[in-house]
Symmetry: C2
Subunit: 247 residues, 2 copies
């Protein structure tokens, strides 16, 4: 047995989420199915984290134990042949057997995309949330700075999470126009670990700032209140992409 990390890109629109569930197709289920066909025996896959239904990933990481050796470079091609078009393994590498994609993460980077054109864009709507009208980018940027550091993020956590503590360390929240499309605003959130729906609530709060409903200077008060009702709404999953996982 050799342990393998695989980096996976997927369009989450048609999935119940990363994690295997009874009520519909999951990314984990598809990965396990493809790997089982490659290795001709049942393979279990452990993901770095769940992503919710409809959330995308460009760099999700999972691990599994390979019953025989395939060159790391060739693993993506072997597995992709058995995956649906909306999931692909981008790269694979062998790690020591005690390494876990789930427990050894040092951090993750997410991006929430807002599209701000005059009318909504069907060719962008799968991956960016449409907001009518302009946003005050400078205000969003100054609000974003308050998130960095270790805080109790209870105000930015959906109920239903089972975590012991709501304290988390955020490395950085950045707000910038996409280099690829100036009508897309990218909210990039990097941190050690995240609460349930945390990035989507941070994005919703920054959207409120951009639209003038929340002042940038109010962010510390919202954080300190530990009251979910003080923060903005949870934005839809389609705008969110897990970009990178750090080990």
């Amino acid at each position: 047995m050799e342990r393998v990390f695989i980096v996976t890109e997927y369009d989450g629109t048609d999935y119940v989420g990363y994690q295997y569930q009874d009520n519909g197709p999951s990314v984990q289920g598809e990965l396990q199915n493809a790997l089982t066909q490659v290795y001709k025996e049942e393979i279990k896959v452990t993901g770095c984290s769940r992503t919710d239904a409809g959330v995308h990933a460009r760099g999700h990481v999972s691990h599994f134990d390979a019953p025989f050796h395939i060159d790391a470079d060739r693993i993506p091609y072997a597995v992709n042949a058995f995956l649906p078009e909306n999931i692909a393994v981008k790269s694979a590498y062998y790690v020591s057997e005690e390494k876990s994609a789930r427990f050894d993460t040092k951090g993750k980077r997410y991006c929430y995309r807002l599209y701000t054109g005059r009318t909504r864009s069907p060719l962008l709507s799968r991956y960016a949330y449409y907001v009518a009208g302009n946003l005050d980018l400078a205000k969003m940027q100054s609000a974003a700075e308050y998130f960095a550091g270790e805080h109790d993020f209870a105000s930015f956590c959906a109920s239903g999470g089972s975590q012991i503590t709501t304290i988390r360390r955020i490395h950085e929240v950045l707000v910038a126009r996409s280099e690829q499309n100036p009508n897309i605003i990218e909210i990039t959130v990097s941190g050690e670990a995240f609460l349930y729906n945390m990035v989507r609530i941070i994005a919703g709060t920054l959207l409120d700032v951009g639209q003038g409903r929340i002042l940038p200077e109010a962010i510390p008060t919202i954080i300190n209140s530990c009251d979910r009702r003080r923060a903005g709404r949870t934005l839809p999953p389609s705008g969110l992409t897990l970009e990178e996982v750090f080990y």
Copy 2:
């Protein structure tokens, strides 16, 4: 009655094409349905051209006759409220009543996108056709130059078309890396009018050039042969987008 031109963007993946058909949802059908709800009476829509099942558009143009006046700026918002997420009217303007979106086109610009990353990309696969390995961009560019001008394009026409002549005027075929993503190669084809599947066959032929199966200098011979079997294959519809229509 006032005649209105509407510019429409759509994701064609889930449609049988632009034109109304009995066997599934069409863009024209959705537009007619939305306009009928806005104007409270049955509205017929005439498109600049059909696009095939799975082909996208960023700037498709249609016309209809409005039974009462709505400010042109407000038409997109009124109609979009009744359209599914994968179709949107981007802009609208009034024209004189003899103007036709179908018969008065001066030309169209299409873009066929190839994605050439190391592995396929689920987040790009809806709008770009995946090609494994590198392409010889310089050769594709020199091959592209032979298409400009008035030619008999019978070699680049799928059977089943009902046109009287296969002579068409192409303004320009350009091959370039996307500014947004250097792994995407954009084949931009502008011309007066097109034969059935013509852009997808030109793209398939240029792909053969990029992969070394056809020499750039062979393009004039392929055109002159008027033999469909000499050109490359028809690439899938998903990579194709109707970008702009000229009047």
